[in-house]
């Protein structure tokens, strides 16, 4: 479809303010009513309020679909990896465990895996996905590439991710800095030992306050 070819999805977790608007909007989507498929994950809950919105990245070679024993996950011609086909999914959890981005959700009650399908009912008709429509900070952006290039001159979209020895190329892009860092891909497993953002929140705000008054 013409409109779909023009528009792309760009995510920028650094801009996420954790407002949950995307989670609410996602559960309004017609293809999975009442269930939010987007994950709003705390990066390091004990230490920071930083959140990361995680949608399906629509991998070129989707691990979820390949490990599915029931052949329940299909990719459309325009590269959208769809939610599990209801008659086929045998609720085995393979996709939930194997997706490198941690995207699919097991709805135990329904014995069915469900996941973000790029709001296919909307995007296939030229509309934006629900989450990108409501995101106030631009962490989730859906639109033509020239527009994002103009809006974010300090960032460049990248769509290759490294997990151990595996490189995964995706349809959805993540915003990375331009400039000195010339990473061609985002090495996800390299940060395995990182513990969250450097600016920590002091949980004992009051004692710090008094401490400074006392001049200690």
């Amino acid at each position: 479809m013409f409109l779909l070819d023009q528009n792309e999805f760009f995510i920028d977790p650094a801009r996420c303010i954790g407002c949950q608007a995307c989670v609410q909007a996602c559960s309004e989507c017609d293809t999975h009513k009442g269930h939010a498929m987007i994950h709003l994950e705390y990066v390091d809950r004990g230490q920071s309020t930083q959140t990361v919105p995680v949608v399906c990245m629509h991998c070129e070679s989707p691990t979820c679909a390949e490990v599915c024993p029931a052949d329940a996950i299909k990719k459309t011609e325009d590269g959208v990896v769809q939610s599990a086909r209801k008659p086929r999914c045998v609720a085995c959890n393979n996709c939930v465990l194997a997706c490198p981005f941690g995207v699919p959700k097991m709805i135990t009650d329904f014995e069915l895996m469900m996941k973000c399908d790029l709001c296919y009912d909307r995007t296939s008709a030229g509309k934006k996905p629900m989450c990108a429509t409501v995101c106030p900070s631009g962490a989730l952006f859906y639109g033509p590439r020239p527009e994002i290039d103009q809006l974010r001159p300090r960032s460049k979209p990248m769509n290759q991710f490294q997990f151990g020895r595996q490189t995964i190329t995706t349809k959805v892009h993540m915003m990375a800095p331009t400039g000195p860092v010339k990473a061609q891909y985002l090495d996800v497993t390299e940060v395995m030992n990182e513990n969250g953002p450097r600016q920590r929140i002091a949980l004992d705000i009051l004692s710090n306050l008094y401490a400074s008054e006392d001049g200690v």
């Binding site: 293809t31 959140t51 490990v67 029931a70 045998v90 959890n93 009650d109 993540m174 497993t189 395995m192």
Partner: protein
């Protein structure tokens, strides 16, 4: 031809040959075989060939093959004398809840459930009646001393008898009528949902979702018209209707291995998966090598590592104590994505 395809063809040929032999056996070397049903019999044989072939190819995929072999191993574990009783009860309970009542569809939506349940039972009844007839395994014979009674021959052996003009007779000979009503009702409900639900309308495909409904509807309606023709209209248009009905049935039989109908055979895997998960829960759990929380059974994680390798994925992390990315839980995977991007920005600011 690839090795898998050759193997699948051999399996399909063997199973079809067994069915053909059962047909000649059950019908007394075609003695009790109804010649009018020959097209249906051949379509059934072709369908069995196609279904077996697709099933064999499906079982060959690495994740399916893993579940298949694991499923049998788990099954043998469950046959342990100490647990066999409770496992048999659990097995039956799951079978009834899942297959007979479709409890999981009930939880997905009441209307969706009603539609599926009616279509499923309509089809089950219809298949249970027609396949034995088409294969010549069942035959109705008038009793020699009482023409008002029918005796049912199964594989040529006389079994129960019942009066033709009785409730049992009426219900038996109109079995296909009742099943048609169920199917038509279910198909109309399903179509209503497909036509009015915005989400369903966006995702559905003609061949995958609508064609099966149209086929079932066509079979049921033409079948009912046949009954109406010989019951009330002195056989008006019977020959034409019979051909029309045969076309719809034969097309559906030949379509079985390809489209949505194949899920009937695929869903048998759910029983194996449920027991695999039971055994997994009882065994050692996998702890995420980042957060330390348990997130799956160790067996499942190790099996996935094997399957991913077979599929050509290289999620190994040889320079890290994690060893393989599969040892990281989904929650940490999501957090890592945010962290990795943050690190990139920090590096860029530090250098810039």
């Amino acid at each position: 031809m690839s090795k898998e395809k050759l193997k699948a063809n051999i399996w399909a040929f063997v199973v079809t040959a067994i069915l053909a032999r059962l047909i000649t056996l059950g019908s007394g070397n075609l003695d009790r075989f109804d010649a009018a049903l020959v097209p249906y019999t051949f379509a059934t044989l072709f369908a069995v060939f196609g279904i077996t072939r697709r099933y064999a190819l499906w079982l060959h995929r690495p994740p399916t093959a893993m579940y298949w072999t694991r499923g049998w191993k788990v099954f043998l574990l469950l046959l342990h004398p100490r647990h066999v009783g409770s496992n048999a009860i659990l097995f039956l309970r799951r079978l009834i809840a899942h297959y007979a009542f479709n409890d999981f569809i009930w939880r997905r939506g009441r209307m969706r459930w009603l539609a599926h349940w009616c279509i499923m039972w309509g089809c089950v009844i219809a298949v249970a009646i027609t396949i034995p007839l088409v294969c010549g395994w069942i035959d109705f014979r008038s009793e020699a001393d009482n023409l008002e009674w029918y005796r049912v021959l199964v594989f040529g052996y006389p079994t129960v008898a019942f009066p033709i003009r009785s409730l049992v007779g009426f219900l038996t000979f109109h079995g296909l009528v009742w099943s048609s009503f169920l199917v038509i009702f279910g198909v109309l409900l399903a179509l209503r949902r497909r036509l009015s639900d915005h989400g369903a309308a966006a995702l559905q495909q003609f061949g995958e979702d609508l064609l099966p409904l149209f086929l079932l509807f066509a079979i049921s309606v033409t079948g009912l018209m046949l009954t109406a023709s010989y019951t009330w209209m002195k056989g008006y248009g019977y020959d034409f209707l019979a051909i029309l009905h045969a076309i719809t049935v034969i097309f559906t039989l030949l379509w079985l291995p390809f489209g949505k109908f194949f899920h009937i055979f695929q869903r048998s895997a759910t029983v194996g998966v449920a027991f695999y998960q039971d055994v997994g829960k009882q065994g050692e759990q996998a702890k995420c090598r980042r957060c330390g929380n348990e997130f799956a059974s160790r067996m499942h994680v190790e099996d996935l590592i094997t399957v991913e390798k077979q599929l050509g994925y290289r999620y190994e992390m040889p320079d890290s104590p994690v060893e393989h990315y599969q040892w990281i839980c989904p929650r940490c995977r999501r957090a890592l994505l945010g962290l990795a991007q943050g690190v990139l920005w920090n590096e860029s600011q530090a250098q810039g």
